[in-house]
């Protein structure tokens, strides 16, 4: 018992010798605590989350589902509207195509129909290209229509015409090729230059008696010559700055 008392006395004497004293240290800590900055006030969202408590995840899941559903519905609506528009375009374009193909159609009617087709923009490229396969007034009018269309949508026209020229399934006769080549030059399809240069090589090979697998028909020497001249003209046009 006496030993414990001795040890307590020893500790108290040690504490009494501390500088600063325990009392002073406590006073400093309390003062520092009083001077510390207050935590920032919580935001509305945080307060809302805090208010919602355990219901917050369910609420967030519902909101995400709503947004996703709305987005999907919007895309579907857009796709349906696009389909409806294309259907309407097809019906309207069919009328113009029938005017172009009518047995007694005169030049003015055919050219006017081709211009009206061109006004439909990108959806009219394929019908016009198909018309360009014809000889006679229809083909010439379709070529004119494609060039007008290139004024408003050169990227689409150049892309399709370039691919048409690369096509090796004999989809077009030589007159169709002539129209495509000329349209590429007139429409400023500068990206088509490498294709035209390769096409020029293929024409040279065909003119020299090589296999002419380019056309649906067999052009005479004069047809090949016209094509070669037109390729050169188009390349010259596209070389201009």
């Amino acid at each position: 018992m006496g030993e414990i008392r001795d040890r307590l006395d020893h500790i108290e004497s040690e504490l009494g010798q501390l500088k600063p004293s325990l009392t002073e240290r406590l006073a400093r800590l309390e003062a520092a605590a009083a001077a510390a900055p207050k935590p920032p006030p919580k935001g509305r969202g945080a307060r809302l989350l805090a208010w919602m408590g355990a219901e917050a995840p369910k609420f967030l899941a519902a909101v995400v589902l709503l947004v996703v559903t709305y987005w999907i519905k919007d895309s579907v609506d857009l796709a349906i509207k696009k389909q409806q528009l294309q259907l309407a375009y097809s019906k309207e374009m069919q009328t113009h195509l029938e005017h172009m193909a009518a047995a007694n159609a005169d030049r003015d009617t055919i050219e006017r129909s081709a211009m009206l087709l061109a006004a439909y923009g990108e959806p009219a490229i394929i019908p016009l290209l198909n018309e360009a396969r014809n000889d006679g007034l229809r083909g010439a009018a379709a070529e004119s229509g494609l060039r007008f269309l290139a004024l408003t949508d050169p990227e689409a026209v150049c892309r399709v015409l370039t691919r048409a020229l690369q096509n090796r399934s004999r989809l077009f006769g030589w007159q169709g090729h002539l129209r495509i080549v000329r349209s590429l030059g007139d429409s400023g399809c500068s990206g088509a230059r490498p294709v035209l240069e390769r096409y020029r090589d293929a024409l040279r090979a065909a003119a020299a008696g090589g296999a002419a697998d380019l056309f649906a028909d067999e052009p005479k020497a004069d047809g090949l010559q016209q094509l070669q001249q037109e390729v050169e003209r188009s390349l010259q046009r596209l070389a201009r700055p």
Partner: protein, 278 residues
């Protein structure tokens, strides 16, 4: 006595005589399988034809005679015959301004050799038509195409009047227009020049030389003026083209052992099978 019926009839006649709005149609052609001469509807006075159906009957008869009822004097190509086609409803204006570069290229690539159009008139005595007359335009499509390519200064358009001087008068338009050999000369010229561009040099030479002789007769018949000068220029053009055809043939291995090698390049039509020259 002027009744309503007379007025209506006169009105109908007046309307038919009016120059119709120019119309160019997508006429049927032989395409790659032959060559085509297109006959368009002429502008007609009421004395020439009382109505459009009568005119069309006459044009169909003319087409038949030209296509089936006579032998043309041109050398027939082996790759397809020359066909005459009446293009019902097509009526170009007299000066031919519709035949622009695009249309001419289209026609050329459809192997159209000649477009024929014009105007017709007649005298009527006792209800019978007599003294039919016509002014006919001949557009030689290959020559006009070459002009558009800046290969020649010749326009390829000839305007001739019929009946030709000294010919007996007739009231029959088929007889009036099918009889002259002018058309044969123009077909031979157009076919020859087209064949030259297509690399058929023997066909080209034969037809060009033959046309030179036929056109020389047209030139001799004409008394003067623009038509005579145009015929002379065309004859000179076909002779030059014949020289080009012979020169091209001499440089082409396909003709190295043929009779063309014997001809003189300085006078290509002398000694050719077709003859030629005035």
């Amino acid at each position: 006595m002027t009744g309503p019926r007379t007025i209506a009839l006169a009105g109908a006649c007046w309307m038919f005589a009016l120059p119709a709005a120019a119309t160019i149609l997508n006429c049927r052609t032989a395409g790659q399988d032959g060559y085509t001469v297109i006959l368009s509807e002429p502008d007609a006075t009421p004395a020439a034809f009382k109505d459009a159906p009568e005119m069309r009957r006459a044009m169909n008869a003319l087409q038949f005679v030209l296509d089936q009822g006579r032998d043309g004097q041109w050398l027939q190509p082996s790759n397809g015959a020359v066909n005459f086609v009446f293009c019902e409803g097509q009526r170009p204006v007299l000066d031919g301004r519709e035949f622009d570069k695009t249309l001419v290229e289209t026609l050329y690539n459809q192997s159209v050799l000649i477009e024929m159009w014009g105007s017709v008139d007649a005298e009527v005595a006792g209800g019978v038509r007599s003294r039919a007359s016509a002014q006919i335009n001949f557009l030689l499509v290959p020559v006009r195409f070459a002009a558009n390519q800046r290969e020649t200064a010749l326009g390829g358009l000839l305007r001739l009047t019929y009946p030709e001087a000294g010919a007996p008068p007739t009231g029959d338009f088929v007889e009036l227009l099918a009889r002259p050999q002018d058309l044969d000369g123009f077909v031979a010229a157009a076919l020859g020049y087209k064949a030259l561009r297509e690399g058929s040099f023997d066909l080209a030479l034969g037809n060009l030389c033959r046309s030179a002789g036929l056109i020389a007769r047209v030139e001799a018949r004409l008394t003067g003026g623009r038509a005579k000068a145009e015929a002379a220029a065309l004859r000179q053009f076909v002779v030059e083209a014949a020289g080009r055809a012979l020169a091209a043939a001499k440089g082409d291995h396909r003709f190295q052992h043929g009779p063309l090698m014997l001809l003189d390049a300085a006078d290509p039509c002398r000694g050719s099978a077709a003859g030629g020259g005035p």
